[in-house]
């Protein structure tokens, strides 16, 4: 048996066991859900952290994702990969959770904390990684940047998710890149 065949067989086995796990969760099996949580918490929290820019808020948002996932998992029909579907659920739940926490008035009047944009960036250093700079971006610029540059969503999709115009999404992305360029010392 070649190495390629072994890898393909392992992938098939993993896919089957994931399908079984999801089917068990869809039947209401909480132990299976706990296993699914362990398998995906890193991916879910990772995305929440980048979108929220704050560890505490990201932890709460990730909890909310798993609470809502329990209700929504019956909608997963297996048409796409589970991780892709979960990614979409995570993005939507997390954005909605962050907005709720930020307060209705702030959203309504489109007030944004621009302190981060006005901050004097620390000198560029090898120890400061890209993730740290991303966390410093203003909220809307950060969300757009994470969704477009890291998660691969199109500006049209982001505009729908964040309730903004496509042009605004592109402008926020440009703004994020300019700030990163400046902070990273490439300006």
């Amino acid at each position: 048996m070649t190495q390629g065949t072994v890898v393909a067989a392992a992938d098939t086995f993993a896919e089957k066991s994931e399908r079984d796990l999801i089917a068990a969760v869809q039947q209401g099996d909480k132990n299976a859900y706990h296993k699914l949580y362990h398998a995906y918490i890193g991916q879910v929290y990772g995305l929440c952290y980048r979108l929220a820019g704050d560890r505490g808020l990201a932890e709460d948002a990730a909890q909310e994702v798993f609470i809502q996932l329990w209700r929504k998992i019956g909608n997963f029909k297996g048409d796409s990969k589970f991780s892709t579907w979960l990614h979409s659920v995570t993005s939507n739940v997390c954005i909605s959770y962050i907005r709720k926490q930020k307060g209705w008035f702030q959203r309504m009047f489109n007030i944004e904390d621009t302190d981060a944009a006005n901050e004097v960036a620390e000198p560029s250093s090898a120890e400061v990684c890209l993730d740290d700079y991303i966390q410093r971006l203003p909220e809307r610029a950060r969300m757009v940047f994470v969704l477009h540059a890291i998660e691969g969503y199109r500006h049209e999709e982001i505009a729908t998710m964040l309730g903004m115009a496509v042009g605004s999404s592109k402008a926020q992305f440009h703004r994020a890149k300019q700030l990163l360029k400046e902070w990273m010392g490439y300006d």
Binding site: G46, E59, A62, I67, K72, N92, K100, W104, M108, L130
Partner: protein
Amino acid sequence: MTKQQFDAQLEAQLAELPKAQMPQRDLWPGIELALAREEQHDDARSSAGDNRRTVVWASLAASVAVVGLVGVLSLRSPAPQLDGMQLVNALSAQHEQQKNALLVKFQDQPALTQNWQQQLDELDSASEAIKAALDQDPDNMALLKMLQKVHQQQIDLIERVHSPKWQQI
């Protein structure tokens, strides 16, 4: 550094970012607790479901009785003048009653969208924020109108997502 050079550098750094990160605390106990609470709530709702028609009719009967009583009292004495927060509280109580009656009515009917409850919660937050503002400025008519508008949006939302016409489309 040119734009292309920066884009290439950024692209390279983005490709190296880890996809997964672990939270600093175990989130499972909180999730498990929330799911258990939800189940208890569902059980309570399902046992209440048997009596929901009675509840709806009782609510309607009570509303009719209240309206009748108010009518009789208004003929006998001048209507009490509600002012400031009294009016806000009365409006909110009336709205809650109407909203709950609708939620009971549509309890077993599938909803058109998945996130309508989330939208309802967001409107709840909006209404709480307006009430907090009214608490500081109880006679502000603009805020009062805003509150009524949010209440109406909630009613419209519940009716819209459970509307059979929409579901047939």
